[in-house]
């Protein structure tokens, strides 16, 4: 009873902290404009941005772009994660595969995605595919590496136990190694989820006709609507946070009951 009350109070106080923190940020933002005297086209105030965010959504300016970006991010994330997990298992369990593949994987990762994006747009066009490729590439690395680390650190005693009960190679991976590595894999996916948003925006800058990245460019260049640009940025941030929270929620469902 009292524990429940305590949890209740803690939840309320953390919500309060969140609100107070946001209020401080907004007040500081407004104060900077008042003190510095910035023009709205340089730095619009929070009220102005908030208003533009609402009208942007109600008049249908933001929604189609946000939907496009969301689609790119989700598909790219799924593709990258779906490729990253088996690659991570392979890297963890095959020394040869690790030796052959690691240089390429690391090299691909250290290449700035910004530099690769125009090439990928050239190869895969300016549609959905090139964004999925970019997002997939960017998600692949953290997922593969965290899977590799997770599988490598599976308790060898559990593996011996499974061997004693005659687990096949496949059963060992599916029943022991992957579930045991799941917390690590989901940790990689958390990182991947936020990176996927970055990948989508970068991909849109390299060539696209729709998406939040496109909207940011439009608002700055042809429309000269800085509040809209801020509203688009705000949408991107919300998208990233939402995806991150989805992964965290999945993580909670899957691994919270272990200890």
């Amino acid at each position: 009873m009292s524990a429940q009350q305590g949890r209740h109070r803690r939840r309320w106080s953390s919500a309060l902290a969140l609100v107070v923190g946001a209020a401080i940020v907004l007040v500081a933002w407004q104060a900077a404009i008042v003190v510095g005297g910035y023009e709205p086209y340089l730095l619009p105030g929070p009220l102005e941005v908030g208003g533009r965010f609402v009208t942007g959504w109600t008049d249908g300016t933001i929604a189609p772009h946000a939907l496009t970006t969301l689609q790119e991010v989700v598909l790219g994330f799924l593709v990258g994660a779906a490729l990253g997990v088996p690659t991570g298992v392979l890297l963890a369990r095959s020394r040869i595969a690790a030796q052959v593949l690691s240089p390429y994987i690391v090299a691909a990762q250290s290449m700035p995605i910004l530099a690769l994006a125009p090439l990928i747009a050239l190869w895969f066009g300016t549609g959905l595919l090139s964004k999925v490729v970019i997002c997939g590439l960017i998600v692949f690395f953290p997922v593969a590496v965290s899977t590799m680390v997770g599988v490598r650190s599976v308790d060898p005693r559990l593996i011996e136990m499974a061997r004693a009960f005659r687990a096949t190679r496949n059963q060992l991976i599916r029943q022991i190694e992957l579930p045991a590595a799941l917390p690590a894999i989901l940790g990689g996916m958390r990182v991947g989820a936020t990176l996927a948003v970055v990948g989508a925006i970068v991909g849109e800058w390299a060539g696209a006709d729709r998406g939040l990245g496109v909207l940011v460019n439009l608002a700055r260049g042809s429309l000269f609507d800085t509040p809209l640009m801020f509203a688009a940025l705000l949408t991107i941030a919300i998208l990233g946070v939402a995806l991150y929270l989805v992964v965290v929620a999945i993580e909670r469902r899957l691994v919270a009951d272990r200890s």
Partner: protein, 348 residues
């Protein structure tokens, strides 16, 4: 292959020499052949010859392990042991004497360098459904509930859901865990976890139950009760039992025979019959034959550890885990901490 042949011809002399030199100076054995683990399936007697024999038959079993900076360490040296059907045999000995290695060879988790292990007349060539293993730690999967863990071997063997559920319920009832079927391992005490591990080991209906210091992670009181729990389960499942333990009283109370092993190379120093009626009780330790058996075991252990004290410490004495650690099965060598009557295991 040629090396293997050579080892078969004059193996005994080499191994003896290895053992003695190991005691004298660990650095002077470079000429010895480096043994890599391999399976030798040949048997002097041949499998058909004793196919009618139930129980465990260990014949001329040797196994060594490569060391990082020296010649291989001989963990088992031409060991012979037979355990009759439905007999309970306890193996005691100082740390690093190859008890766990022996158990893993019987369970098919380690291949022998030479010699054979047969269960019910069939030669063991890998993890065998005829042998159920209980490890030092329960080794339950934390993401499965108790029923899911107990049913794991059935699932791995491809049994259907209905069979699995029925068998799992039966096993849980046998070990008294029915009410914990949907609990997670971390919600159970150490004793209950180990019971689940026993149920899991029995899942495929093995004829042999192998227990590798199953009590050492338990506190003294739980440990005592758990021993009798094991006897009760044993009486209802009719399996042959091979039990590795550190505790002399435990071995005497639980087993029909106590086998004492010597360290490096692992050999059998004594094989002591325990002449106590069943069902066993703790008070029987004080009886004439009980204390006689315990004294005989202690005397045999005394001889082996007397030898152990002059051993050089070639391996670092890592804490209490000669059973758990796969990579270095002989970690903890040279630690004469076996004297551990009913509990107070150091480390874990």
């Amino acid at each position: 292959m040629g090396e293997g042949q050579a080892a078969r011809w004059d193996g005994r002399e080499r191994h003896d020499a290895a053992g003695i030199r190991l005691l004298a100076s660990p650095g002077s054995r470079r000429h010895l052949p480096t043994r890599t683990p391999r399976r030798v399936r040949t048997s002097r007697a041949g499998p058909e010859w004793r196919s009618s024999l139930a129980g465990i038959e260990i014949d001329d079993l040797s196994r060594s392990f490569p060391t990082i900076d020296g010649p291989p360490l001989l963990a088992l040296d031409r060991l012979d042991l037979s355990v009759a059907d439905r007999q309970a045999v306890a193996i005691v000995g100082p740390n690093g004497c190859g008890k766990s290695t022996l158990l893993r060879c019987v369970g098919g988790l380690l291949a022998a360098d030479r010699g054979t292990v047969s269960i019910d007349g069939r030669i063991v060539g890998g993890p065998d459904p005829a042998a159920g293993i209980v490890f030092q730690e329960a080794r339950l999967l934390p993401w499965r509930d108790v029923a899911g863990n107990v049913g794991l071997p059935l699932e791995l063997a491809g049994r259907g859901r209905a069979t699995r559920d029925a068998r799992t319920a039966e096993l849980l009832a046998l070990v008294g865990l029915t009410e914990f079927a949907t609990s997670r391992p971390h919600q159970l005490s150490g004793g209950l976890r180990q019971r689940a591990a026993i149920a899991r080991a029995l899942a495929l209906g093995p004829s042999v139950l192998l227990l590798d210091e199953p009590f050492s992670a338990l506190d003294a009181l739980t440990r005592e009760r758990f021993g009798f729990e094991l006897l009760r389960i044993w009486s209802r499942t009719a399996t042959t039992i091979l039990l590795v333990t550190h505790s002399v009283p435990e071995a005497v109370v639980l087993a029909d025979r106590v086998v004492v092993m010597t360290p490096r190379p692992g050999r059998i120093a004594a094989d002591i019959a325990v002449d106590l009626p069943r069902p066993r009780q703790l008070s029987m330790l004080g009886s004439a034959s009980g204390s006689q058996a315990a004294a005989a075991v202690r005397a045999a252990l005394g001889e082996t550890t007397g030898e152990a004290t002059i051993e050089p410490r070639t391996t670092e004495p890592s804490p209490a885990d000669d059973a758990g650690d796969l990579r270095d099965p002989l970690a903890g060598v040279g630690r004469p901490a076996w004297f551990d009557p009913f509990g107070r295991e150091e480390g874990r």
